[in-house]
Amino acid sequence: MKIIVVGCGKVGISIIEQLSLEKHDVTVIDFKADIVTDISNRFDVMGYVGNGASAATLAEAGASETELLIAVTDSDEINLLCCLFAKKAGIKSTIARVRDPRYSEEVSFIKEELGLSLILNPDYDAAREIARLMRFPSADKIDTFAKGRVELLKFEVLEGSLLEGKSLIEIGKIVSTEVLICAVSRGDEVIIPNGVFRLEKGDMINVIASSQAARVFCKKIGIETHQVKDCIIAGGGRTAFYLAQQLLLSGVDVKIIESDRARCESLAEQLPKATVICGDATNQEILLEEGIEQAEGFVSLTGMDEGNMFLSLYAKKCSKAKVVTKLNYFASNDIVKNFNLGSIITPKNISADLVVSYARARQNSIDYGESNVETLYKIVDNKVEALEFGISKNSPVAGVPILQLKLKPDILLGCIIRGKKMLIVNGQSVINEGDTVIVITTRKGLKDIRDILA
């Protein structure tokens, strides 16, 4: 599929990287020549130097044959203008990044009026993910599928845990809940486990469950599941604002530490219920004074990766809080994984995943006439994909017990969503027409449910 990406910032590069890995024909526009040169040396894409919000540049970049345009320059207005011109030039789908909180109330209005397919707000999306973690702090990472009905949670198997040394069949007997352990990462390896697979201490397990079942599961294996009562946010940027907004709504006490007084005042004005502290979060005394030792949640959201890392390491050391660290540049760094930073959130990757999942759905509707992949999640350091497939009429997987389907290796049918119910798959389960199926796999590039069959 032909895709134009306008703007090569952090988010832009992350999107370009993912899309070119997915073998799309990507054309990149940015007005800085050296960045374009660098990008076309690193990825198999075509680069143009110019203004993306110009009809002439878009035409030169081949807008007439392009399916999708993604505008991620650092200006919201240019992004919207870009999408507007792109529509006029005949590009069917457009995605814009709009991140200024002043527009956030009107996102759906803008989307509708300008005919956008998707609006990216990396800060907001990151905040939503952090808020989810604060509501369920024992998980290391939480994704949702099927419009929030299914959760995918990541846990670490701690020493002395009930899970340690047990095979999946034994665990099934102990917890007797509708949950499925779908992927296990052990060291650098990622395993799609079968029933006799034994868990070890230090494994990171990914569990599929409905939100109720997830809580039951945690109780049975002896993990606390209540929502945090309070949360300290270090850094008062846009993500902090969105996060505070969402946490306050679910009744969490929020304390924001920000060093810029003007920013503090504006936060205090917009978030009357939150406590806004004007001070340097890297100062340990201030953190102690504000009660970091008793805090149940701690999020480091300053603009500097290094600062965030140290803040989180400190929070981990002096408190029992659920710690979340925002990392932008060092997210894929192998060294960072060895640090005890709690959950790591990378806004640019969250945006890139959204775009890739949209691009896949578009590609599918081109290839097969109707969309087949509904959402795509990359889990476990992008090594595993969880895909949601709609089951259409005459699908070869429908109406046959799962045991009788010949699946390719490294593919696991996670669960079936039928109406509002979620069913964990076992050998006797039968997929019906109209169901939605979640497939977990280490194979890349599945496009249709037929691709899972050997």
Binding site: T27, S40, N41, R42, F43
Partner: protein, 480 residues
């Protein structure tokens, strides 16, 4: 350095070359000539070696500019050595240096020969020489990139190191698709020329040799007088196609895409055509005493100009006998060469255009020191780095030229011979003047001189730097 990946790519080069060698083997079968067997043997041997190398893809496929240059330089050396083996083993060219010279001359699309009597060569040998033009013309890597399963964007470094021109870009977002488009245009044009030659009643074998030799802008012929003894019709077909293969392939891509405006906006192509036309007219009037009619003058002038500006090197007459003005124009055209992004050699028209624009700007800045001007090309401002690159390239070209000339001078030939022999090799033309003129050959040079010329041919084809880089000790240090 990613040595594993370099070896892997060289493996591919060897496999592609082995497959190409099957064609002369087949020719041997058709003409029942035993020399074909040597090609079959060499092909089989290296196919096995190559396949063993490419059996497993290296895990790390990340390459940088340095690997790009190294792998291209090394591969061309391997390509030439392996290509020389059948000529040497079969005994058709008894000296290995000569066989290597002939093969390098083939792959670099030079067309300079050490053969004193080309008509004695066997059919497989003739085909192999000319086929090497076709492979070397568009480039081995462009071909490999179009078929090899490669991931990642860094492979653009491979294409950049092999393709001529100051700015090597892609036509479409994917490198693989770009490479496929280039080869499709190349193969289609070659085929059209082949069919036209057949229609003009050229024998099949001659038509194959002539069309692949023209496509790669190589210039190996199968007759002592090159194209001289063929009909007028054939001469014109060759004239036009030589000029066409010297045009930047982006031009054809834009035309196929229906974007005529964009195609004719390429300044280089306009200058290239202008230079050809002006040269033809001047030479045609300058040589009117030699030929009977003005038509003949134009025919000969057009053929020779087209042949030398594109660095093909076919000849229909011994232009060594022409008046000095014509010879000077021809030698100037040899330096300039064809368009970037074509199969032709030389410094390239685009570099000349940029050079003259830079000079114009420099002059303007002397007159009005405070004036600010940018150099534009095809309606877009040119990056300072590209202008700098062009100037350095021309400087490097001149340096390699002078050093080579110095070494060649030891042979005792006259100045014109030495001078044009170096241009002919460095610009990948083929024939020069005097001893190495269209009626002569390179057999008289010493082995040392031949190696210098071999280096020049490779340096000319790969645009100097990939070869210079191989000579730099810095390149091979582990950490520098």
């Amino acid at each position: 350095m990613n040595i594993a990946f370099i070896i892997y790519i060289i493996g591919w080069v060897i496999v592609v070359e082995s497959v190409a060698m099957l064609f002369p083997a087949l020719t041997g079968l058709i003409y029942m000539e035993s020399t074909g067997l040597y090609y079959l043997g060499v092909a089989a041997f290296f196919a096995i070696i190559g396949l063993l190398i490419i059996r497993k893809r290296p895990e790390k496929q990340q390459i940088f500019a340095r690997e790009g240059f190294a792998v291209v330089g090394l591969s061309w050396i391997f390509l030439s050595i392996i290509g020389a083996l059948p000529l040497f083993i079969s005994g058709e060219i008894p000296s290995f240096t000569d066989a290597l010279f002939e093969t390098v001359s083939g792959f670099t699309t030079t067309g300079s020969s050490i053969l004193t009597d080309v008509e004695k060569m066997s059919h497989p040998g003739l085909l192999w020489r000319s086929l090497s033009h076709w492979i070397g013309g568009m480039g081995v890597f462009v071909f490999i990139l179009s078929i090899m399963p490669l991931a990642g964007g860094s492979n653009i470094h491979l294409m950049r190191a092999e393709s001529p021109g100051p700015q090597v870009g892609k036509l479409v977002p994917k490198l693989k698709d770009t490479a496929k488009i280039l080869y499709t245009i190349y193969a289609t044009m070659t085929f059209i020329m082949f069919v036209l030659l057949l229609i003009a009643k050229m024998p099949v074998f001659d038509a194959i040799i002539t069309s692949v030799g023209t496509a790669g802008t190589g210039g190996f012929g199968i007759k002592s007088d090159s194209i001289g003894s063929y009909s007028d019709q054939i001469k014109w077909i060759v004239t036009v196609f030589m000029a066409l293969f010297g045009i930047n392939f982006n031009f054809y891509f834009f035309i196929i895409a229906g974007n005529l405006k964009e195609a004719f906006r390429i300044e280089e192509v306009r200058w290239y055509i202008t230079a050809i036309l002006i040269s033809i007219v001047i030479i045609a009037f300058n040589i009117r005493g030699i030929f009977g009619s003005l038509y003949e003058c134009f025919r000969e002038a057009a053929f020779q100009v087209s042949s030398l500006v594109t660095s093909t090197g076919f000849a229909t007459t011994d232009f060594n006998m022409w008046p000095p003005l014509s010879k000077i124009i021809l030698v100037s055209l040899m330096f300039m060469g064809a368009c970037a992004g074509s199969t032709g050699g030389g410094i390239k028209v685009v570099r000349y255009v940029i050079l003259f624009k830079a000079i114009k700007n420099e002059v303007a800045s002397y007159i009005q020191p405070r004036s600010v001007k940018t150099v534009t090309m095809d309606g877009k401002p040119l990056d300072k780095d590209i202008i700098r690159g062009v100037l350095v390239f021309i400087g490097a070209y001149a340096s390699v030229f002078s050093v080579s000339l110095l070494i060649l001078a030891a042979n005792g030939f006259d100045i014109v011979t030495n001078f044009t022999a170096v241009v002919a090799c460095l610009s990948n033309i083929g024939p020069g003047l005097e001893v190495v003129g269209p009626a002569g050959n390179f057999a008289g040079f010493s082995d040392l001189s031949k190696f210098v010329l071999i280096f020049d041919m490779l340096a000319g084809r790969l645009e100097i730097f990939p070869m210079l880089i191989l000579l730099s000790p810095r390149m091979w240090k582990k950490f520098k």
